[in-house]
């Protein structure tokens, strides 16, 4: 039972201002919120582009690189982050070399991505058994380590977020054009292949940063769920891009706040909050479509969130 004098264990009260103040008293929570915010901005932006490009499977495969990356790093005796980053980049380059487009009645790209992921996980398993010992980081590998982020790591994550945002802003127009209409992009002389490879490498860096907060298994909580909610809410690129970042930030703050008052890992709460927002957004979009149908007759079929002419 909660008593006002009980300050030893954190507990949630109905006084939200008091709760927030309680959370912010601790340096590790401030660091976690800063790191989470930086990652949310990067993931909200890169995830939104990832969904427009329909590369969710590639993003998921890059997230899985955490396992071979961390175990190879343990084997080589270097920091896990470096192993993760190098496997992410190699994976991104391997995926970008896969032949895109339809080959008759089937497409090779998803199958090739599946092979890349399976091979990476198989290698990770091999490294673990060669290492012999127990991977001390297994918990961190599954859950992320946001509650133990140091000041230096906050700075690193902030740098990654700024870089991702800056590069995306710089290549936004050609990247979006070549995403929604690759043939048109080629016809206008855009380097479609280079843009595609560049974006995958950027996505790899974002995934590696996001996994610090959510754990590699749950990176999609920030990469897919906010972007999917935003694209359900608005079909305008700018509005939905801003909404994606805002929803990612909201999910991180609420998730970290809830995790502070409980024993379960932050990634679980962030994913649950983001999932709840996604369900609300889908419900709101469905209600809006019903209302439109009643007023204007049948609405256009819900298809790609972004029509080529909208860019």
């Amino acid at each position: 039972m909660y008593t006002p004098a009980d300050t030893a264990a954190p507990s949630l009260t109905w006084n939200l201002a008091h709760d927030a103040a309680q959370v912010l008293e601790y340096h590790f929570m401030v660091n976690a919120l800063l790191a989470g915010s930086a990652v949310a901005v990067a993931a909200g932006l890169a995830g939104w582009v990832m969904l427009v490009r329909r590369e969710a499977f590639a993003g998921h495969t890059l997230a899985m690189m955490a396992f071979p990356g961390a175990s190879a790093a343990a084997l080589a005796g270097v920091a896990a982050g470096w192993g993760y980053l190098s496997f992410c980049i190699v994976g991104a380059l391997a995926i970008s070399r896969l032949p895109g487009g339809a080959r008759g009645s089937w497409r090779e790209e998803p199958a090739g991505i599946g092979v890349v992921q399976a091979l990476a996980l198989g290698l990770g398993f091999l490294f673990v058994s060669l290492y012999g010992g127990v991977l001390g980081d297994l918990e961190g590998l599954l859950f992320g380590e946001v509650l133990g982020v140091s000041d230096g790591q906050v700075l690193e994550l902030a740098v990654v977020a700024v870089l991702v945002a800056a590069v995306l802003a710089g290549i936004a127009r050609p990247l979006l054009l070549s995403s929604v209409d690759p043939a048109g992009g080629l016809a206008r002389g855009l380097p479609v292949k280079a843009l595609s490879a560049g974006f995958l490498v950027l996505l790899g860096a974002t995934v590696a940063a996001t996994s610090q907060v959510t754990g590699p298994l749950l990176v999609f909580a920030l990469l897919v769920m906010p972007a999917a909610s935003a694209q359900a809410l608005s079909t305008r690129p700018t509005t939905s891009l801003i909404a994606s970042v805002a929803i990612a930030l909201l999910a991180v703050w609420l998730g970290l706040g809830l995790a502070y008052f409980s024993v379960y890992p932050p990634g679980f709460y962030i994913a649950t909050v983001a999932f709840a927002i996604y369900l609300l957004a889908r419900a709101a979009a469905a209600a809006a479509a019903r209302r439109r149908r009643r007023v204007h007759g049948p609405a256009p079929a819900p298809g790609r969130p972004l029509a080529p002419e909208a860019v």
Partner: protein, 277 residues
């Protein structure tokens, strides 16, 4: 090598699972559902953990989770499939957004159970999780191997039984629908069967490595042979070669885990097919 009982068990279970994965994988690649298959293999992990937390047999959780997820992806993906230009335009059917959202939430629930569990039972959890994720084909008993072979054989027979209408519904969904082929029902049934094979294979080759057996041989077969019958048979054969080769390799090199060896050979086959044509 075959004198050892554990190797015979592994070869028995592995062969039938490989055949089923090869045939299912051929359709998975044709239908552009590799991500769905991948999601199913990840869902096995929370399923097993949830069953363990509830005190049930691990296998009950595995099958319940993968079959339920297969059905859910089929039902939820439907909306996304309906309003699209379809595969004629070369776009992937069934929203990968939906799959990404769904399986991330299920994984989050798995993480919840893992925490819940590690608080009550101490250190055994990590090992249990690793077992579900990576399988232990050389650790199968005779009864388990026979059960695995029977289940995989049943899935293989079921997929072959619905093979013709499934092919029609995959290549030309509109025409098949107009001809009275129940395309939605077939899509649903196929994903449920895929869920069964995912649960089954996750015990043998591991949930995370199932993907290589589904995607690698099938992609190679699609590349090498354009037709249907011979191409499906080739996919099954290549999966079988990966399995046998991997088991032999792992037997010869004890420090190499069998799952890694199987996947490495499947990847090698795919790369060779890409180099060839």
């Amino acid at each position: 090598m075959l004198g050892q009982e554990y190797v015979r068990n592994a070869v028995l279970a592995g062969s039938v699972i490989a055949l089923a994965c090869g045939v299912c994988g051929w359709f998975v690649v044709l239908r552009g559902q590799v991500f769905a298959g991948d999601a199913l293999s990840h869902v096995a992990f929370p399923g097993a953990l949830a069953a363990a937390a509830l005190g049930l047999d691990e296998r009950v959780g595995l099958f319940a989770a993968t079959v339920a997820a297969g059905g859910a992806i089929a039902l939820l993906g439907r909306g996304a499939l309906a309003g699209r230009g379809g595969r004629a335009a070369g776009v992937e059917p069934a929203g990968d957004t939906t799959i990404g959202v769904l399986f991330t939430f299920i994984l989050a629930v798995g993480v919840f159970f893992l925490t819940l569990f590690s608080r009550s039972s101490g250190g055994g959890v990590g090992i249990q999780a690793a077992h579900t994720l990576f399988g232990s084909i050389f650790g199968l008993g005779a009864g388990e191997a026979a059960l695995a072979a029977v289940l995989a054989g049943a899935v293989l027979a079921a997929v072959l039984a619905i093979g013709r209408p499934l092919l029609f519904a995959s290549v030309a969904p509109e025409i098949a629908g107009a001809r009275g082929v129940p395309t939605r029902l077939l899509g649903f049934a196929f994903l449920v069967l895929l869920g069964v094979i995912a649960a089954e294979a996750s015990q043998a080759v591991g949930a995370l490595l199932l993907l290589g057996l589904l995607a690698g041989p099938a992609a190679a077969a699609h590349r090498l042979l354009p037709g249907t019958g011979a191409s499906v048979a080739l996919a099954a054969g290549l999966a079988l070669v990966s399995m046998w080769g991997g088991l032999a390799l792992a037997y010869a090199v004890p420090s190499l885990p069998p799952s890694t060896a199987v996947i490495a050979i499947a990847t090698g086959i795919y790369l060779a097919a890409r180099a060839w044509r």
